[in-house]
């Protein structure tokens, strides 16, 4: 599929980057027009991403719209992009939320607008690149490149502690990912020793047999990088700081898209590449996930600052994604993916809502508000819906994801206890959200400064309408999404399962080989992995 003769996935990566450069090169006199240009670019990007939804064939080739062009032949790296049921929604989420985040910044950002919108667009391009990459070098390239615009967004347009938040964000993520780079190189050489071919192509690395001993370390190297990004407890400390200090759009992108790179990374890279280690370490990750769910919820409850509350609720919600994933079954994965999507929509909307009152009052303290119901009715209604979707009320999107995750975890015989514990997180989330809503919205106006607050402007309503539509649409009719995910989930799970079995088989054979005396006939090792990945690339 092409747009104007260019392959669509490349267009999706290049378009926002070019758009960002155009915004940056606008003349100084056009400073106030930068937002319009940026929004136009983001809308165009969203429009360009929509055909993916219609043209993607569930049950077709595992990867669709595939592009593969040699990039650095000496390294074996190629510009290999592809889309499947795991990445399609994250890409659509990115294009949609980026446009809304830009629209939501119109009245919040007055200084250095060209640079601001340029960075948002560059960030969008890098994020989409991360989700589409099917080559480890391309993936790592975007994964790291994305840090720079986010760092600058927090550091330049953020709050009082912005510098500390920006540097902490950068260093944490960087520290996590450098060891992943070593692990990438390790598996790259492993593949070379097994096949004689240097390649960083993910689909080929999927066929590499990784010895069990090495798997643990390699999985951990990947897992730390992703766990920091998710963030999983206890690697979450950068997140509340970054969220609180970031400008609204920064928080929205951070919560809605950036964190998903971590969970997506587990599904796409860490688990299929090192399946045995993933199975072996699942209890530990489930434990961390459940701690994150409960800890995040408890800490969210006592936050006096709205943004911090939402930030800790993210830690809690992302725990569900991990829990679903490490159930290794279809409902768990579907729930995990749905939860990623829903968290993006609901939490993105929550940050936008906090941004709305912050713009009016320049404070985010819950204690400063109260009784907004009377003066901002439209705002309050939207807030109510978003809040309920974040709790996971049936009929909203949040319910679908959390339900499936808990179902998946419960179906896994070892994970029942985790499912039961995690379910308390759902109750806790109702506690902190409802309590927060009550203090901010209900009651009488306790603070005179709130009396003159204006309700949402038409532009702000325009930001929320698509999000509300998504909340109800996914909540009531999740099937179009689930059917698109399902084949890819099954494929990926099958890949993990067969790779794990195959590797165990090899190790058993080798152990037998060591036991039999040298004179005896050595058992033959199986020669081909269970899943034929060679045919897995759809063209």
């Amino acid at each position: 599929m092409t747009i104007l003769g260019m392959p669509i996935l490349t267009v999706l990566i290049v378009l926002p980057i070019l758009g960002g450069l155009i915004v940056a090169l606008l003349p100084r006199s056009a400073e106030s027009q930068a937002k319009h240009v940026a929004f136009a670019v983001a809308l165009l990007e969203f429009a360009a991403s929509l055909p993916l939804w219609f043209a993607y064939q569930p049950g077709g080739p595992p990867f669709q719209f595939v592009e593969k062009v040699p990039w650095i032949p000496g390294l074996g790296a190629s510009w290999h992009l592809g889309l499947d049921g795991l990445s399609i929604f994250l890409v659509l989420l990115t294009t949609a939320l980026s446009a809304l985040a830009i629209l939501g910044s119109f009245s919040a950002i007055h200084e250095r607008t060209r640079a601001y919108y340029m960075l948002l667009l560059l960030l969008e391009g890098a994020m989409i690149g991360t989700f589409l990459a099917l080559d480890m070098v391309v993936f790592y390239f975007f994964w790291e490149a994305m840090l720079v615009p986010m760092y600058l967004l927090i550091g330049v347009w953020g709050g009082t502690e912005r510098i500390r938040a920006a540097v902490k964000f950068f260093l944490y993520t960087m520290a996590g990912s450098v060891l992943m780079l070593v692990a990438i190189l390790w598996i790259y050489f492993l593949h070379f020793h097994q096949t004689g071919v240097y390649t960083t192509d993910l689909l080929q690395l999927y066929q590499t047999n990784v010895p069990l001993g090495a798997q643990t370390w390699l999985f951990l190297a990947f897992a730390v990088a992703f766990a920091i990004k998710v963030p999983m407890w206890p690697f979450h400390t950068w997140l509340p700081l970054a969220h609180v200090e970031a400008p609204t759009a920064g928080s929205v992108i951070l919560a809605a898209v950036l964190l998903k790179m971590g969970t997506y990374g587990f599904m796409r890279f860490a688990m299929p590449l090192f399946p045995n280690a993933a199975y072996a370490l699942a209890p530990a990750l489930n434990l961390l996930a459940v701690i994150g769910i409960i800890y995040g919820a408890l800490v969210a409850m006592v936050q006096p600052d709205l943004k911090k509350l939402v930030a800790y609720s993210s830690v809690s919600h992302l725990g569900f994604c991990i829990l679903g994933m490490f159930a290794f079954n279809s409902p768990g994965w579907a729930g995990s993916l749905m939860q990623m999507l829903n968290h993006g929509i609901s939490t993105g909307a929550l940050f936008l809502l906090v941004g709305v009152i912050y713009e009016r009052r320049h404070t985010r303290m819950i204690a400063e508000f109260g009784g907004l119901w009377k003066i901002m009715p439209v705002y309050s209604v939207i807030f109510l819906v978003v809040m309920l979707s974040s709790i996971g009320l049936p009929g909203t999107n949040g319910f679908v994801g959390e339900f499936l995750v808990l179902l998946g975890a419960f179906q896994h015989p070892d994970n029942r206890i985790w499912a039961i514990l995690a379910a308390t997180g759902v109750i806790l989330s109702a506690c902190y959200m409802l309590w927060m809503y009550q203090r901010v919205i209900f009651g009488t106006i306790t603070n005179a400064a709130n009396e003159g607050l204006k309700d949402l402007t038409p532009r702000e309503i325009a930001v929320f309408v698509p999000l509300l539509a998504l909340i109800f649409w996914i909540g009531l009719f999740p099937n179009p999404i689930l059917t698109r995910m399902q084949p890819s989930i099954d494929h990926q799970l099958e890949l993990i399962r067969t790779r794990a079995l195959y590797q165990r088989e090899i190790e058993v054979q080798q152990a037998i080989g060591r036991l039999t005396p040298p004179s005896g006939t050595r058992p033959t090792t199986p020669t081909s992995p269970g899943v034929g990945q060679g045919s897995a690339v759809g063209q």
Partner: protein
């Protein structure tokens, strides 16, 4: 041994050497005339000389030829480095053009010294004889000592020159003594003959030879500033005129590694593996001490000096790994590092007005939005040195780590990647200061200049271009290594 025969083809292959020698001498001559020609003429003359040298090199890029009793070799390896040195000098001249006028250092000799120093570097890369290496090293170093002290009436410049000279002379002594001992054991100074003589010979374990080769290593370690032979670097870099610092931080380091690789690949290929442990220790020390000390610096020039020490440590990874992949990674990284480091020092050379130079990190406050282009350029160089994609610094490191891991140096690679996280901390500082703080007191004045702007813009473009499309340079590096290393 025959007498030296010399053909026209030889003359053409030696064109870069002629061009630079003549340029240097001419510059000295015209600056002796009663009516000095002014630095515009001198700079232009140097650029022409360098351009001719560059053209000569480019037209002989596939030539392999040994000359002067096999003392001087033209091959893709020497051509790769010579082109790099000429390019570094070209950029340094562009950067110096207005800097010298601004800081009242306008003397034609400056350019003559650059030309001679570049010549010395080329000799080192093209040498096939210990004496030739020594000659090149001295030619390069003596010119650099003078350049370091070029700001005659500034205390720190005098200190820089004296320190650099004394320690440099000491290191040269080590080098020369090492050469003497190697000559004593092998009976020749020719690198290829030493290599043949030592091939499989038990002599490599005799004390005389071991001490000789270690002394040689110390000499090179000094020139590329490996810890613990790095003490001169921050002082020399800080005291020297900023554009001369740019020149020596890129050129001298590349030349040091060129000489080390020449000796290592040509004469001591069997000995290099024995050095692995030693070099591993040096690399870990160099990276860690360089990076950690850089964090503590408030002076940009000193920070970049320590960062350049750390980079020598990264490059050592390629040397330790060895093999075609390892050495090619070294060549690639040296080129990329030169681009980014010239850029970083180039930006520093624009800071301040008149003879008042502002080189503290804090001086950059708020510059990012007041001078957007300069801010972007500085940020690109910093992120490039930190190794963040899509800059060339990332791929440079990737090649080095790949080569080291291929040889199983896992610990070393892990130390290196953790070091690059430390490095991010201080490379981000100028970015933080430029974009996220406001100046206290008067804000920094920038003295932009057209030649420097041309140079900086090309360096920014190169930083991105090599980061996205490295194949041409990587292939050239591999081609060069294959010419020497079999």
């Amino acid at each position: 041994m025959n007498g030296i025969s010399f053909s026209q083809a030889d003359f053409l292959a030696m064109l870069p050497v002629w061009a630079l020698t003549i340029t240097g001498c001419l510059l000295m001559l015209v600056n002796m005339t009663p009516r000095k020609p002014g630095s515009n003429v001198s700079a232009l003359l140097t650029l022409i000389g360098l351009a001719v040298a560059g053209w000569g090199l480019w037209s002989h890029r596939d030539t392999t030829k040994a000359m002067f009793n096999e003392m001087y070799i033209v091959d893709p390896f020497s051509t790769f480095f010579a082109l790099l040195f000429v390019a570094i000098a070209f950029v340094a001249v562009l950067l110096s053009w207005d800097y010298l006028k601004r800081t009242a250092l306008e003397q034609g000799e400056y350019y003559a010294l650059i030309a001679f120093s570049t010549l010395g570097m080329i000799f080192m890369a093209a040498a096939n004889d210990l004496m030739m290496i020594f000659l090149g090293l001295e030619l390069m170093s003596i010119a650099l000592y003078i350049l370091a002290g070029f700001r005659k009436n500034r205390f720190e410049s005098n200190e820089a020159a004296l320190k650099y000279f004394l320690l440099g002379a000491f290191a040269t002594g080590f080098l020369l003594y090492g050469m003497a001992l190697i000559y004593g054991t092998t009976g020749t100074t020719n690198l290829s003959q030493i290599g043949n003589y030592l091939n499989g010979s038990p002599i490599t374990s005799t004390p005389l030879f071991v001490i000789g080769s270690l002394l040689l290593l110390v000499g090179f370690a000094f020139k590329v500033s490996l810890v613990p032979f790095h003490m001169w670097t921050p002082d020399a870099y800080e005291g020297a005129p900023t554009t001369a610092t740019a020149f020596m931080s890129a050129g001298a380091k590349a030349a040091g590694f060129a000489g080390l690789l020449r000796v290592g690949m040509g004469a001591l290929p069997g000995v290099m593996p024995d050095w692995t442990q030693l070099l591993t220790g040096l690399a870990i020390l160099t990276m860690t001490i360089g990076n950690v000390t850089a964090i503590l610096q408030s002076n940009l020039k000193r920070m970049l000096a320590y960062s350049s020490i750390a980079h020598a440590g990264y490059i050592l990874l390629g040397v330790i790994a060895g093999g075609t992949d390892g050495y090619a990674a070294v060549l690639f990284y040296l080129a990329v590092y030169s681009v980014m480091n010239l850029g970083a020092f180039g930006i520093v050379s624009l800071m301040g007005q008149g003879t008042d130079e502002r080189v503290r990190v804090a001086d950059l406050a708020g510059i990012g939005f007041r001078r957007p282009w300069m801010g972007v350029a500085m940020a690109v160089f910093m992120l490039g040195l930190a190794g963040i994609p899509p800059t060339a610094g990332f791929l440079g490191k990737f090649y080095l780590f790949r080569a080291a891991l291929a040889e199983g140096h896992l610990t070393l690679v892990i130390v290196a990647v953790l070091n690059s996280v430390i490095a991010v901390y201080y490379y981000l500082r100028p970015v933080v200061v430029m974009y996220m703080t406001q100046p206290e007191g008067e804000s920094l004045e920038i003295s932009p200049a057209i030649p420097a702007t041309i140079a900086l813009v090309s360096l920014v473009v190169l930083t991105f271009a090599l980061g996205v499309s490295p194949t041409a340079l990587a292939d050239a590096a591999m081609h060069s290594v294959l010419a020497v290393f079999h």
